[in-house]
């Protein structure tokens, strides 16, 4: 994982763009998704019934691009990140091959994932829909509207992972997220969001309800000066900090 982290930091430092701590917060989750969970053949073939992953917290796009690149699912050149004529922006778009949705404004990914999950039910498709939202994103009303919809329509082909790094606590605490989703009649699994075995187990579990995976994560995981330090949300390392980070990895 350290090579992937280095790549994220390197690109963000060079381009002075991207959200490093948010990308690192979700890194283990999306790594496991693309390494072991998603039906990659269905994605490569662009099948209509393919497994789908929507990164709802789009500002972690750099993490997604680097993981896609690692698994040879990205046709774009990572070095063009946020360049004028690049497709790889600070938020992902569905114009990029193997990226399902254009996200950035929070609270859009989960409703779309629910639409996809319902569409798969209607058409008897067997593949699964995965989405990843942030805990700050869970401030949005659409998350709770969608939580109602998913259980009402028995969307047990849907997995919603919550990147619970407590970044929202300074504004609006979510409280007992586990029981809140349970009250919305989801199956809830709470895990260490940096333990790949736990991530795998949660994302391969099955239920007759939609599954909410509360992933306890650390924003900036792996880089001590950034971990749980909100100052780094959209900040880039100086040369000295950059060298310090590389040495620590």
């Amino acid at each position: 994982m350290n090579d992937i982290i280095k790549k994220i930091v390197n690109i963000a430092t060079l381009k002075k763009e991207g959200h490093i701590p948010s990308s690192l917060s979700i890194l283990d989750i999306i790594y496991v998704l693309y390494n072991k969970i998603l039906d990659i053949d269905s994605i490569k073939e662009n099948r209509i019934d393919r497994d789908r992953f929507i990164l709802s917290k789009g500002h972690a796009s750099l993490g997604l691009y680097v993981v896609l690149d690692h698994f040879k699912l990205l046709e774009n050149d990572l070095d063009t990140f946020c360049d004028f004529d690049s497709e790889l922006g600070g938020h992902p778009t569905d114009k990029i091959k193997n990226i399902e949705s254009s996200t950035g404004s929070l609270g859009h990914g989960l409703p779309m994932a629910i639409g996809l999950a319902l569409a798969y039910k209607i058409q008897n498709f067997k593949n699964k829909i995965y989405t990843l939202i942030g805990d700050g994103e869970a401030n949005e009303g659409t998350i709770w509207e969608s939580a109602l919809l998913a259980s009402h329509h028995n969307l047990n082909n849907l997995y919603c992972v919550i990147d619970f790094n407590h970044s929202t606590d300074r504004a609006l605490k979510l409280g007992d997220l586990k029981n809140k989703f349970k009250a919305f009649e989801w199956d809830v699994i709470e895990i260490d969001g940096h333990n790949q075995k736990e991530i795998y187990k949660a994302l391969t579990s099955t239920s007759d309800k939609p599954i909410c995976v509360i992933a306890n994560t650390i924003k900036g995981k792996g880089i001590s000066i950034m971990e749980n330090n909100p100052e780094w949300h959209h900040k880039f390392p100086s040369e000295e900090e950059f060298n310090q980070i590389l040495n620590s990895l």
Partner: protein, 290 residues
């Protein structure tokens, strides 16, 4: 138009198995047959318009054809960002059918008014805006466009015009020709405007499709005195006219709904009078302008 909407939807859902109807807990009884015959494609989603539009985008991504329906302000104003990003930015196919345009629900007050729909939605690149003047026009235009790979908004009203026109998506109708002015009219407002200009020496163009805007017909029948009659906020379509006539010189006048909250209740006809959008007021305005 509402009755025609239910009938058109039943026809379409019968023949096109990819269509899905999503209701915002509005008009549910009218779609009884759809609920009975297409239970896995007809949903009363509930009163959560933003997520309903997002959900519709997910259906569209899986090649289904969503038709989203509720009262105009709740879909246009509450879910505007979802229409913009989920459908506009992602260039998805989908249909948004509103009911109760402008101040149709005059007795219900400002929360249920929506004269700003065309102004707001026309800011979304690639969206199609359709303002049918009656049920027949809706049926024709919906069947022409519901699956043409674009987000499309249909502006339905409780009020209709009675003219029997051969309309086409994206094309304006030349209702009459004259020399003193070019009158442009949208949707059901044709009812009043036609009666007003019937005996006046003006050209009358009728647009049931607002976007894509038919610039060609406008240019072909150009007059340097242009009067726009809009059953929505006045000036909502000025950009379309100005963009079409770039470099040309002309006088542009608007007869439409003023940009203020309508604080009165009563019948629609009473609000028409209040806003000087009744036949007599429209006539006075047009005569002064020509």
């Amino acid at each position: 138009m509402r009755k025609q909407f239910t009938s058109t939807l039943y026809d379409i859902m019968t023949v096109d198995k990819n269509t899905c109807l999503l209701l915002g807990d509005i008009g549910v009884f009218g779609f009884k047959k759809c609920f009975e015959e297409f239970p896995n494609r007809t949903y009363n989603i509930g009163i959560l318009e933003q997520s309903m539009v997002g959900l519709a985008a997910g259906l569209s991504k899986a090649n289904l054809i969503p038709i989203v329906h509720t009262i105009a302000p709740f879909i246009v104003e509450r879910a505007l960002e979802q229409i913009k990003i989920d459908f506009g930015y992602q260039k998805l196919n989908g249909n948004f059918v509103s009911i109760g345009n402008s101040y149709d629900y005059s007795g219900l007050g400002c929360t249920h008014h929506c004269p700003g729909d065309i102004l707001l939605l026309s800011s979304i690149p690639g969206i199609q805006l359709i303002s049918p003047g009656n049920g027949k026009e809706f049926d024709y235009l919906f069947k022409q466009t519901y699956n043409n790979n674009s987000p499309t908004y249909f502006r339905l009203s409780e009020y209709e015009h009675n003219l029997d026109l051969d309309i086409n998506f994206g094309k304006a109708n030349i209702i009459k020709k004259g020399s003193k002015a070019l009158v442009i009219c949208y949707g059901n407002m044709l009812d009043q405007v036609y009666k007003v200009v019937e005996d006046l020496d003006v050209t009358l163009l009728y647009y049931s499709t607002i976007l894509p805007f038919d610039s060609d017909t406008l240019k072909k029948h150009f007059n340097d005195n242009i009067i726009i009659c809009e059953p929505f906020y006045e000036g909502s379509t000025n950009y379309l006219i100005n963009h079409s006539l770039k470099g040309m010189s002309y006088k542009l006048s608007n007869i439409g709904i003023p940009r203020e909250f309508i604080l009165n209740y009563g019948k629609k006809s009473q609000i028409d009078k209040l806003l000087e959008l009744d036949i007599n007021s429209i006539k006075d305005k047009i005569i002064k302008l020509i």
